[in-house]
C-alpha cells in the first residue's frame, strides 16, 4: 500500500469527500492559504476554490453558524489552527450542536458539523497554543471526539466525520503531520468507537492517544528486547469509547497504563483507569498507571518543556515499574524533535 504523511492523508480524505459530496465546505482562518493548515487543506482549496474559504476570527458565532448551515443540509468543516481557540466555541458546541438532535426530539434533523483542531507541542508554543481539550469535550453526550494517531486513521476517521450525521471533533497533533504510514487509496471510513490494536502483547496494556501512540510503540520496541511484551491499544475515538477493546486487552495482560496528551485530573487517562477498575477489576494484577502532562500550564523554556511532556522513556519506565523491575535512564529512546520554528 502507498505511504502517505498524516497531513497528506487528511488532505486526501478532504478532497475525496468533497468530490463525493458537494455539500461539504471547508472554512476557518487560513484554510485557503498556500500553506493550507500545514498542508492539509491546500489541495482542497485548489480544487474547490468556492468551497474552501477563509474565515474571520469569530470562533464563537461560527460554531453556531456551522450548526445552522448543517441544519439546512450543508456539511461544514471548520478548522482551528490551534485547538486552544476552540474554547471560544464551547457554547455553541456544547449547548447547541451536541444537543441538537436530542433536544428537539429528533424532529429538527441532524447537524453534521466537522471540527478539526490542531494540537500544538514544543518549541515553546506555550500555555495557550498546546492544549488538547478532548476530555472536557468528550464529557458531553452528543459529540464524537476523535484523535487520529496515524495517517490511515487521519484519513479514515475524517471520512467518517464527513459522512456522519452528527457533530464530530478531531484533534490532530501537530507533531504527527509529517509522520508516515500506509494509507488506503480508496475511501474507507473508519467507524467511530472502534479501537485499533496497534501492537499485540501479553504482559502490559498501554492505552495511548494521539502522539502517545508512537511514543508507546517506541517504548514497546525497547521493552521487547528485554523480553517484555506490550500490547498497545489506540481507542481512536474518546467518545464513543471502545470499552470492549480496552477491557479485552486488560483481561489478557492484567496490567494497564494509560498515556494521554492532556492532563490527568478528569482527563482521559482517568477515564480509562476508572473504566477498568469498574469493569475488568478482577483481571487486574497490578495498580493501573496514568501518564499525562505535568499538572501545570505548558511552560515555554526548553528544560521545562522537557520536564513537562511524558515520552517514550516515561512509558518504558512505567512498564518496568509495573512489571516489578528497576527503572533506568532511557532517554536514548526519546525522539529528538526536528521541528523548527517559528510555528
Amino acid at each position: 500500500m502507498r505511504v502517505l504523511k498524516y497531513k497528506e492523508a487528511i488532505s486526501e480524505a478532504t478532497v475525496q469527500a468533497m468530490e463525493a459530496d458537494e455539500s461539504i465546505f471547508v472554512t476557518g482562518h487560513a484554510v485557503d492559504y498556500p500553506s493550507g493548515i500545514f498542508g492539509s487543506t491546500s489541495a482542497a482549496a485548489e480544487k474547490f476554490p468556492d468551497r474552501v474559504f477563509d474565515c474571520p476570527s469569530m470562533e464563537n458565532a461560527f460554531a453556531g453558524i456551522a450548526v445552522g448551515a448543517a441544519a439546512m443540509g450543508q456539511r461544514p468543516m471548520f478548522v482551528y489552527p490551534r485547538a486552544d481557540f476552540m474554547f471560544l466555541s464551547f457554547d455553541n458546541l456544547l449547548n447547541l450542536a451536541c444537543k441538537w438532535r436530542y433536544m428537539y426530539g429528533g424532529n429538527a434533523g441532524h447537524v453534521p458539523i466537522v471540527l478539526r483542531a490542531v494540537v500544538g507541542k514544543g518549541w515553546g508554543q506555550g500555555a495557550t497554543h498546546s492544549q488538547s481539550p478532548h476530555a472536557p469535550l468528550a464529557h458531553f453526550p452528543g459529540l464524537t471526539v476523535a484523535m487520529p494517531a496515524a495517517p490511515a486513521d487521519a484519513k479514515g476517521l475524517l471520512l467518517s466525520a464527513l459522512t456522519s450525521n452528527h457533530p464530530v471533533i478531531l484533534f490532530e497533533h501537530r507533531s504527527l503531520f509529517d509522520h508516515e504510514g500506509e494509507v488506503d487509496e480508496a475511501m474507507e471510513p473508519i467507524p467511530f468507537g472502534k479501537a485499533r490494536i496497534v501492537r499485540e502483547g501479553h504482559d502490559v496494556t498501554i492505552v495511548a492517544t494521539s502522539l502517545m501512540v508512537s511514543e508507546a510503540v517506541t517504548a514497546a520496541e525497547e521493552l521487547a528486547g528485554r523480553g517484555i511484551s506490550v500490547e498497545i491499544i489506540d481507542p481512536r475515538t474518546i467518545r464513543p469509547l471502545d470499552e470492549a477493546a480496552i477491557l479485552n486487552s486488560v483481561k489478557k495482560t492484567g496490567r494497564l497504563i494509560v498515556a494521554d496528551t492532556s492532563w490527568e485530573l478528569c482527563g482521559f487517562s482517568s477515564e480509562v483507569a476508572g473504566l477498568v477498575a469498574e469493569k475488568a477489576f478482577k483481571h487486574l494484577k497490578a495498580p493501573v498507571r496514568r501518564i499525562a502532562l505535568a499538572d501545570c500550564p505548558a511552560p515555554v523554556s526548553m528544560p521545562l518543556e522537557e520536564a513537562f511532556y511524558p515520552k517514550a522513556s516515561t512509558l518504558a519506565n512505567a512498564v518496568l515499574e509495573l512489571t516489578g523491575q528497576n527503572t533506568e535512564n532511557m532517554s536514548h529512546i526519546d525522539e529528538v524533535s526536528l521541528f523548527k520554528g517559528p510555528y
Binding site: N60, G68, G105, N107
Partner: protein
C-alpha cells in the same frame, strides 16, 4: 436599494383580506399564550416558560411576509414565532406538558421548539445562538444558490453578546440572506436597557455601522411590521444581503412564568408603564383598524375570537390527554 415599500392602506378594500388574516393570526397567538399561561398556573407544565403576550404583532407581521420555505429561529421567548411561522398550538401545548406528541417529543420544553414542516427550525435558550444558527442557514442558502431567507427572532439583550456582532459582521461580509428581527421590549428580565447598553447608542445604529441595512417599525402595529417586513424581504430577495428589523414592543407578563409582575409584588416596572403599553395592545389596534376600514363588523370579530379560543382549548385538552414519553426511549436520538 429597492424603493421603500408603501405602507399598507387599511382602508383600501383589496387589503381587507390581509387585515383579517393578520387579525386571525394575532388572535390565535394571543389566545394560545393566554390559555397556556392560565393552564401553566396549575403546575402541570413543568418547563420554565417565557410568554410572549403583548409582542404578537412582530411575529405575525414578519411571518406573514415570509414564505413557508423560508426558515426561522427564535430565542427563549419563542412561542409567538413558533405559532406565527405555522406551528400548531396542539404540538406546542403537548411540548409544555412534556408529552411524546410535543413538537420536540417532550425533550426540549418551552425554550426548545421545532417544526421543520413549517420552517420553524429551532428555538434555543442561550442568548445569541438563534442568531448564529440563522446566519448559518443563510450561508447554506448562499452556498446552495437557494432563494430562501433565514430569519432570527431575538430580544434587545442579545445586542450585549459578542455573537451578535460576529454574526452581523459575517453576514455583511458574505452578503447573506438573513433577516434579523429584534423585539426590543426594553428589558432583559428585570433590567432596563439603560443599565445594560451605552446611553444614546441605539441598537439599529450599531447594526448600521456594519453596513447592514436597518429598518425600524412600530412593533405593536401589525400592519407597520408587515410593511417593514415586506420591504426587508423584497430587499433580501433582490440584494441578498442582511436586513435588521428593530421593533419596539412590550412584554406584559413576568419574564418567565404566567403572572403579571405586580401580582407577585415586583416593582422593577410600574403598573402604569404596563398599562400604558396594554393600551397600545396589538390586538386592539388591529381590531380598530379593521372596524375603521369596514373590513368586518364587531360581531364577526367577536365570533372569530370565540372560535379560535374554542379550537385552542380543544388543542390544549387533547395535548393534555396525550401519552408521556417512554423512559425506555431515554437514549433515543442522541446522534
Amino acid at each position: 436599494m429597492p424603493p421603500k415599500t408603501q405602507p399598507i392602506d387599511p382602508l383600501a378594500s383589496e387589503n381587507h383580506e390581509t387585515l383579517l388574516r393578520l387579525h386571525e393570526e394575532l388572535l390565535r397567538v394571543r389566545h394560545a399564550e393566554l390559555a397556556l399561561a392560565e393552564r401553566y398556573k396549575q403546575q402541570e407544565m413543568r418547563t420554565p416558560t417565557h410568554f410572549g403576550v403583548g409582542q404578537e404583532a412582530v411575529a405575525v407581521g414578519v411571518c406573514a411576509a415570509l414564505e413557508k420555505t423560508d426558515v426561522a429561529y427564535s430565542h427563549h421567548r419563542s412561542h409567538n414565532h413558533f405559532l406565527a411561522k405555522g406551528g400548531s398550538v396542539y404540538r406546542l401545548a403537548a411540548e409544555l406538558f412534556g408529552r411524546e406528541t410535543g413538537c420536540s417529543r417532550g425533550r426540549g420544553g418551552s425554550v426548545h421548539l421545532t417544526d421543520l414542516s413549517c420552517g420553524f427550525v429551532a428555538s434555543s435558550a442561550i442568548l445569541g445562538e438563534a442568531m448564529s444558527a440563522a446566519t448559518g442557514s443563510a450561508l447554506a442558502f448562499r452556498l446552495g444558490n437557494e432563494k430562501r431567507i433565514a430569519t432570527a427572532f431575538f430580544g434587545d439583550a442579545v445586542a450585549e453578546e459578542g455573537a451578535f456582532y460576529e454574526c452581523l459582521s459575517y453576514a455583511a461580509l458574505k452578503k447573506l440572506p438573513v433577516l434579523y428581527v429584534c423585539e426590543n421590549n426594553g428589558y432583559a428580565t428585570e433590567s432596563p436597557l439603560s443599565i445594560r447598553q451605552p446611553a444614546g447608542a441605539d441598537i439599529s445604529g450599531r447594526v448600521a455601522s456594519f453596513g447592514v441595512r436597518t429598518i425600524k417599525a412600530e412593533g405593536n402595529d401589525v400592519l407597520a411590521v408587515l410593511t417593514a417586513a415586506r420591504e426587508a424581504v423584497a430587499y433580501l430577495r433582490t440584494e441578498g444581503t442582511p436586513v435588521f428589523l428593530e421593533c419596539a414592543t412590550y412584554r406584559w407578563l413576568e419574564h418567565v412564568g404566567p403572572f403579571y409582575d405586580h401580582e407577585l409584588g415586583r416593582t422593577y416596572r410600574t403598573e402604569q408603564e404596563v398599562a400604558g403599553w396594554q393600551d397600545k395592545c396589538p390586538v386592539i389596534k388591529s381590531r380598530a383598524a379593521i372596524l375603521e376600514a369596514g373590513a368586518a363588523d364587531e360581531a364577526t370579530l367577536d365570533k372569530m375570537q370565540t372560535d379560535i379560543q374554542a379550537v385552542i382549548q380543544a388543542d390544549i385538552e387533547k395535548a393534555y390527554g396525550d401519552p408521556w414519553p417512554d423512559p425506555q426511549q431515554l437514549f433515543d436520538n442522541i446522534y
